[in-house]
């Protein structure tokens, strides 16, 4: 069992007797420190998606399907191609990558986990933390009174992450792929 807060793109969960791939997660905070997790899910057996919301500590059954450690090889529209240690290639539909697609870049060395359902590669799970270069961000802004000054930054591959005010273009930053949160500058 995993809590909603622990789920991330690529996980497969069982709801109402059906397997669903987590495509996107977005965690926000409600009152009294409670987390709310908004998710986009794709039905593994049907071509349908749904948006849903969970309490952060809601528990759900994550299905242990066959998984293989793979590295990203190349993109052949609309499939991302991954390769295992024995050079077998597996195609994963771009749709099934969800938010993880923002971190897939040519030449990436991080090992990913490709999940199979009935022999078909259905999703990809990234490492929990990933390091990417900031390709664009505005200079530090002033005047925010919240005491938690953050700003958007574009990273290699085109994705956007909210980063601390001190981060500059060219910085390498560590990102938590479960929450898309900036962790630190490395």
């Amino acid at each position: 069992m995993k809590t909603a807060h622990e789920l991330r793109p690529g996980n497969v969960i069982m709801l109402d007797g059906s397997p669903w791939v987590v495509q996107k997660t977005e965690t926000t905070r409600s009152g009294r420190n409670a987390a709310i997790v908004k998710m986009k899910l794709k039905h593994v057996l049907q071509d349908s998606t749904t948006e849903t919301t969970f309490k952060g500590d809601d528990k759900m059954e994550d299905i242990i399907l066959e998984r293989l450690a793979c590295t990203y090889s190349y993109y052949a529209d609309p499939m991302y191609v991954f390769m295992d240690a024995e050079y077998n290639q597996y195609d994963v539909e771009a749709d099934n990558l969800g938010d993880a697609a923002a971190y897939i870049v040519d030449g990436m060395e991080e090992e990913c986990s490709v999940t199979f359902y009935e022999g078909k590669a259905i999703s990809v799970e990234l490492p929990v933390t990933i390091v990417r270069e900031v390709t664009y961000t505005e200079p530090a802004a002033r005047g925010d009174t919240s005491g938690k000054v953050m700003k958007p930054a574009t990273i290699t591959g085109g994705g956007t992450v909210t980063v601390a005010e001190f981060v500059k273009i060219g910085d390498m930053i560590e990102i938590d792929t479960r929450t898309n949160e900036f962790k630190k500058r490395v």
Binding site: M14, L15, D16, G17, E26, T28, R29, S30, G31, R32, N33, A34, I36, K38, L41, T50, E51, T52, T53, F54, K55, D58, M60, E61, D144, T145, S146, G147, K148
Partner: protein
């Protein structure tokens, strides 16, 4: 009080259940009690309000008998929520878990069984009309002005059993779940505020003496903060400065706010009693007795400035059409400041920049225990006329075309 026996046998399929776990004395129960009363009064819905702490509830509903497991007030059935439940839960047409409280497992078992039974019936079968649908299940969430609320409001939460629970987010936009506001509230407030005799009569009723009609009266219902201590010290010496040398009265209930200023009173907390007053320089501190929600609203309408906390009093201060400071419930990593900023942003949209800035700084200083709040307060008071006008205009802007109860009724119809 009316008999409950009728309430439990009539309209069993159409009643609504609201479960409320009391966490912070008056916040959760304050919101759910207002909602329950409004739904019963304005929509004639049979409401069962399940509460796990009748003692706390009795502070805002003094007529409540904490020994009774079932009682009825204002058309609402109030049920003691024991663990395990000793009153049988009978599914109605709506089930609300307030503020993500954990429902009793027996309640979840019942609605899941109902869901399974309903799922197995073919829609066109002759049995379809005989097997009742499970109630619409809602998690009534906390009020927030943050942008993400619109994207999450009304979304289903798929449960492992297949039954859906919907997340219902109160909020300030058209796309949110709206704000709790009774139909005639603004008329009642305007009528009250049109005659100063009303506020003087209220102060007298509450045992608050020595308040003149032209004095500056501030209600204080906050958490502990050094900013309040600093403000009180400033108000003590405030004669001959701002507020046209008005005398200042701070009305403070027994509780968290009082802890922040106890050092100024020169007495121990245990010896303080409701209606007691302490005069120091230009400031008189009055110890407020507990009141029910109607009187609390009137109190907010009667003061020149309100310092409020949490969710229920925060919203009621907005409906009071008076300037206020919001002491928001503190969260880990100072996340409450993000929520405060989101509200400040929308509240300030129609304020002039400099006034918005002062109001924002005052609120942040109060929430960050910053004793520089005094500086901001002085500026705030010098801008009190436009701030008062804005406070009068804001309620209509905030409520928009529909309040929470009417949006909720519509939501249930279409879910």
């Amino acid at each position: 009080m009316t008999s409950l026996s009728d309430s439990f046998t009539q309209n069993q399929a159409t009643h609504w259940d609201i479960f409320c776990a009391v966490v912070d004395n008056y916040g959760d129960i304050g919101v759910t009690w207002r909602l329950a009363k409004q739904l019963a009064a304005e929509y004639q819905i049979d409401i069962n309000l399940w509460v796990d702490d009748l003692q706390s509830f009795s502070h805002i509903l003094p007529e409540l008998d904490c020994e009774l497991s079932k009682q009825r007030f204002f058309g609402v059935n109030i049920l003691q929520w024991n663990s395990p439940l000793d009153i049988p839960y009978i599914p109605g047409s709506l089930l609300i878990e307030a503020f993500a409280c954990e429902l009793p497992s027996s309640v979840i078992d019942i609605i899941e069984s109902q869901h399974k039974a309903h799922q197995t019936i073919e829609p066109n079968s002759s049995l379809a009309n005989n097997v009742s649908k499970p109630p619409v299940w809602i998690n009534l969430e906390y009020l927030s002005a943050e942008d993400w609320v619109d994207g999450c409001h009304g979304l289903p939460s798929m449960q492992a059993s297949g039954i859906k629970k919907y997340f219902y987010f109160p909020g300030f936009s058209h796309h949110s779940g709206g704000l709790i506001c009774e139909e005639n509230l603004f008329n009642q407030r305007d009528s009250w505020q049109s005659d100063d005799k009303n506020k003087l009569a209220l102060f007298k009723r509450l045992g608050l003496t020595g308040i003149d009609v032209n004095d500056y009266v501030i209600s204080v219902f906050s958490y502990e903060t050094d900013a309040l201590t600093a403000l009180c010290q400033y108000w003590i010496n405030a004669a001959q400065s701002e507020v046209n040398t008005q005398k200042i009265h701070a009305l403070i209930p027994m509780g968290k706010s009082l802890h922040s200023i106890i050092s100024l009173l020169g007495v121990s907390f245990d010896t303080i009693k409701a209606t007691q007053r302490f005069s120091m320089g230009n400031l008189t501190i009055h110890i407020l007795p507990m009141t029910d929600q109607t009187e609390f609203d009137r109190l907010l309408w009667s003061c020149d400035f309100n310092i409020v906390r949490g969710e229920d009093s925060f919203l009621r201060a907005q409906w009071a059409a008076k300037p206020f400071i919001w002491h928001i419930y503190p969260q880990e990593d100072d996340y409450h400041l993000v929520k405060l900023q989101a509200f400040v942003n929308i509240y300030s949209l129609k304020l002039e920049n400099d006034i918005a800035n002062i109001w924002s700084k005052t609120n942040f200083a109060f929430n960050q225990q910053d004793t520089n709040v005094v500086e901001h307060w002085q500026q705030l008071i010098s801008a009190q006329l436009p701030l008062q006008q804005h406070a009068k205009d804001w309620p209509v802007d905030a409520k928009k075309d529909a309040d929470l109860a009417s949006r909720l009724v519509e939501f249930v119809k279409t879910s």
